[in-house]
Symmetry: C2
Subunit: 360 residues, 2 copies
């Protein structure tokens, strides 16, 4: 059954809506004092992510504060390689790391897609618990890292400035990287399908690092494997369509190609002009984005103006030919931990207010 | 007088050439053992950059090793704000920093464009000394950071992941940022003109961080000020045209707009498809790029194949209508310090070899 507020799902599926729905990447996060309090109780980020009770608590926090049109599962993009046995950990004050990165052919040969019901059960438990807590007021979005983005961390062992290890493999031993990516694509599809079975009403694939690839390499090593994931997804559950969003940060140059892989919606960062993007793909997919998260550091008047500018750039989703495009308002990247919480309230208000004026 | 090998200048000006010229961003750098030896003698990076004798020595090192088609002045992109009194320094193992970043309206009010002959004389001395050492075999490229990129460091005080300080100003106090950028544009134009008078035969504006801006903000806060710089440049010296290259890393979405600011050539990073880029701007500017520097970590066979792919993507610079486009081969970003020096030799050889086969 569709949620009471199904505006997000309708926008993703390019059905008519009364206003533009909005959610914020990383909306359950460190800019919220209540999140920091829960995290303190949990002891660590992984303590939060691996506990269905805590994950539910923090997933609901921004929903209780703001009239957002979707909740997104609180989890980490690296749960899948962790379940593959690579040993995810967070060093204090640093990003995610793996204890056992993939460096040799023998490491690659050992890789296998994990059974998500067995080794990622804590995520499915969280999905079910969040759905109960939401009581179908708004939809819940599930997510995963993209096959390429997972491979970046799996091979580099951490974040990277230059992706030297994975790109050395890409340029020097492409067949090895393809083997890793094939396993990852299988694992990501299985993982997202398990989330859908557990109750995720839309899913998003985060390709955080595909934009670091060269033209040509992006299509071969990132986009092709997102296409494989999308092709294997369960697109309907309990009689409802489950929309799929793909988001390559820095992927604006490849929009036409991204629009052809079969996803319902494309996330875009703030470098993209939404009006041009819409024309380039002729509304074949919905677009999700794309305010610069740093606009939340402007005062109220200029923040409202920036939000309105993003909405105006997309324009009226209803086309002259009677078809509908789809716009889901979001940031172009995760909300900054330094964001004043009241700025998020202003933003959500302005998106709802201004987008109603675009209908007509 | 044009240099004995003027292939680079001809390609930048879209005149006929026999092959595609090549140089490498950061070609005088830490991947070369002779560079590290000189740097050790100089004591520090700034010790190198501020000594005309050392700067000449390291500028010539890659020229002595490889048959490159251009030399580029060894310097830092932040010499201009250093001359403004901000106090450039390098903390061990970190990027550049400023002792006195711009944080208040009073800081902004004090900013003024420095006289490059007075406060950046060491750069002009280096240009003159390098020209003497090159004996006009190949051209010397001068350069500066772009007004926006300089402002990033001036306001953040260092590199940044999220550009929170400068973007808070951009979104919250745009008029203040415009004042800084106007000073920077004046300073950059004066600086590049002084380099041209001292003997730089082409100049390049590095907009390393413009690609971090949102669509709209890029045009207003980075591109507009590069346009102002280009408009104020001396385009001819000693009877020869002085070509101008502008390079916004991550600026591929804005190529048409970049092509309209009056520069001769546009640098592009590896996310851009050169063939498409050429069609988008209809060869109104030359293009410089765009191999992923990480391709230099492939073995010889695959490195040669990648270099050929980049050349083929641009294709024959001679158009069907008889006009010429211009291609200057380069990396899409600076060469990595971990690059095997012999890979650079293979790359230069392949560019020269393969590009001759594209003529016909």
């Amino acid at each position: 059954m569709r949620p009471a507020n199904d505006t997000l799902l309708r926008a993703l599926l390019r059905e008519p809506t009364e206003y533009i729905p909005v959610w914020l990447m990383r909306q359950a996060g460190r800019y919220l004092p209540e999140y920091n309090a829960t995290r303190k109780r949990a002891g660590s980020f992984l303590g939060l992510a691996k506990s269905p009770a805590y994950a539910t608590e923090v997933t609901l926090q921004p929903i209780d504060r703001y009239p957002l049109d979707a909740a997104i599962l609180f989890s980490d993009i690296l749960t899948v390689p962790d379940a593959m046995g690579l040993g995810l950990y967070f060093a204090e004050g640093e990003g995610p790391k793996f204890e056992r990165p993939i460096r040799t052919e023998a490491d690659v040969a050992k890789l296998a897609a994990p059974d998500p019901e067995l080794s990622l059960g804590y995520v499915m438990d969280a999905v079910r618990e969040i759905r109960r807590a939401l009581a179908n007021r708004i939809p819940l979005i599930g997510f995963s890292g993209s096959p390429f983005t997972l491979a970046c961390y799996m091979i580099e062992g951490s974040g990277s400035d230059d992706f030297r290890l994975i790109k050395s493999m890409l340029y020097g031993r492409p067949e090895l990287l393809h083997r890793i990516l094939a396993v990852n694509a299988r694992a990501v599809a299985d993982y997202l399908n398990a989330q859908i079975r557990a109750g995720a009403q839309a899913v998003m694939v985060f390709d955080s690092w595909g934009g670091a690839l060269a033209d040509g390499a992006y299509q071969e090593f990132s986009l092709a494997y997102m296409r494989a994931v999308v092709a294997d997804l369960k697109r309907e559950h309990d009689g409802e369509r489950v929309p799929v969003i793909v988001f390559t940060k820095g992927g604006g140059l490849w929009l036409e190609e991204i629009a052809a892989i079969g996803a319902d919606a494309i996330g875009v960062d703030w470098t993209v002009n939404l009006g041009q993007a819409r024309r380039r793909i002729d509304d074949r997919c919905a677009l999700q984005g794309n305010l610069d998260p740093m606009a939340l550091f402007a005062g109220e008047r200029l923040l409202r103006a920036e939000a309105a500018r993003v909405l105006d750039s997309f324009g009226n989703p209803r086309r002259a030919d009677g078809r509908w495009g789809g716009h889901v308002f979001n940031l172009g990247h995760g909300i900054s931990q330094h964001t004043p919480p009241e700025s998020a309230a202003i933003l959500v208000d302005e998106v709802h207010r201004h987008s109603r004026t675009l209908r007509g």
